[in-house]
């Protein structure tokens, strides 16, 4: 093919792509009834809502919001600890380097994938009927989602282990347990800690959403405030959520940097 026909082909391809995208967009606008004018018209109301209804934050509600804030923190920490523990065991089955049997590996991986693909918000909805609204349901949802994430992450860390180190200890006459303790764990635990801290981060983040659908903590307080039109208190709850996010993220970043 010469340069000109290549150019022509490329141009035709670009035109087709643009036409396709435009077509899909127009079709979608028609179906959803979206219009820029209407979107713009809402802006004023959004501003009014934020500036008039939501501000200033209700500083007096801090004392009432302290308990939900702590609840969110506890949920996140407990869910991280328990899911790290369970994932640690599951990961040994899910990693090719350590699994006792290939079939067990497939089962462990499929299980983790299943837990991971269902969003934690959906887990809360499934769990609330059994445990009722509140911190317990939220913690369990975070735990399930955490197992999904950490099993995968831990298994991948185990698969990346330098087998030369394992071989060296094997050659010295070490037992399986000794190889795990002295060759696998030194390589694995920084990953383990780093991923668990990351999980703590994501837990604090998702617990706000989870709380809104019945998982307790700050999210629940935000949702309750909206329902009671206590918008200034809602602003305060959002502020505390942000402070908690930033605080935890700062803490985990410092910890991670010092481990690795």
């Amino acid at each position: 093919m010469d340069w000109q026909s290549y150019q022509r082909k490329k141009r035709r391809y670009t035109v087709l792509l643009l036409a396709g995208l435009t077509g899909i967009t127009v079709l979608s606008i028609n179906t959803t009834g979206f219009s820029m004018a209407r979107a713009g018209a809402g802006l004023g109301e959004i501003l009014r809502f934020i500036l008039v209804d939501m501000l200033p934050p209700d500083w007096g509600s801090i004392s009432r919001l302290l308990q939900p804030t702590l609840d969110t923190l506890y949920m996140s920490v407990v869910a991280m600890g328990t899911s790290a523990l369970v994932s640690f065991i599951l990961a040994f089955f899910a990693a090719g380097a350590t699994t006792p049997h290939p079939l067990l590996q497939v089962i462990a991986r499929a299980f983790a994938t299943l837990l991971r693909t269902i969003p934690d918000m959906v887990w809360v909805l499934l769990i609330v009927p059994a445990y009722g609204l509140g911190v317990m349901a939220g913690t369990i949802a975070l735990f399930i989602a955490g197992v999904g994430l950490l099993t995968r992450a831990f298994a991948e860390a185990l698969d990346e282990i330098d087998m030369g180190q394992v071989e060296a200890l094997k050659a010295a006459g070490s037992s399986w347990l000794q190889i795990m303790g002295r060759a696998v764990m030194p390589q694995f635990w920084p990953e383990l800690l780093s991923w668990s801290l990351f999980n703590l981060d994501t837990n604090v983040r998702s617990s706000a959403i989870i709380g809104m659908v019945g998982g307790g903590g700050l999210g629940f307080a935000i949702q309750a405030g909206i329902k009671l039109f206590q918008f200034e208190e809602v602003t305060m709850a959002i502020l505390m959520t942000v402070v908690l996010f930033v605080g935890i993220e700062f803490l985990t970043t410092v910890l991670r940097r010092n481990i690795i």
């Binding site: 180190q165 200890l169 094997k170 010295a172 037992s175 002295r182 390589q187």
Partner: protein, 246 residues
Amino acid sequence: MSPILTVQGLKKVYNDGTTALQGVDFTVQPGEFLAIIGPSGAGKSTLMRCINRLVEPSAGKVHFNGADVLKANQRQLRLLRREMGMIFQSFNLIPRVTVLDNVLNGRLGYMNSVKGAIGLFPQQEIEAAMRILARVGLSDQAFKRASELSGGQQQRVGIARALAQNPKLILADEPIASLDPVTSESIMNYIYRICREDGITCLINLHQVEFAKQYATRIIGIRAGHIVFDGAAEQLTPAIIQQIYH
């Protein structure tokens, strides 16, 4: 004197169908410093790993110190392995832990499984490890992470770890292939001197024919999984070297 190592009809065929070793026979007397030379892929590394069963041989016999290595069960194999120290091309140290801990890993075969796994070494083992580190000139590095050391120093830790096993036999698999010429010379000196001083038999895989001729009491040449030369360094003529390396 009865041989410390006998290898008979050793054969290794990997799962993918490659034949790495075929009909390998040789006997090693205590105190020998035996160099194994040959081109890359000739089977030197496989041969060494068949002796301590890091690789399972397909057929043949390996006798070490009177024991049938290939018939040993897992527990017996651990006891045999702890008497064979191994030194690796890429050192295979645990980089995140201290030099001392790496040397102590050589003692795991002598330890209770749980105590070893959590690293509860008795005081006298730690003192013994420190004495070994002094022998390889690394006393002042004992509490550094292994990853902080230079390549030559790391290989000296590798030697110390093998030595900590109190081995009757040392298997050195290309111990100087990742090092510069000057460091290589120094590492060869350490391995040779220590094996002589402690009366340890040594099998060493080497790329460099000059080093083999300089140190070895005997040389085995391997090509395509077969032994094509077995004799003293003086018998290794340029013609034979040509034959080993094509």
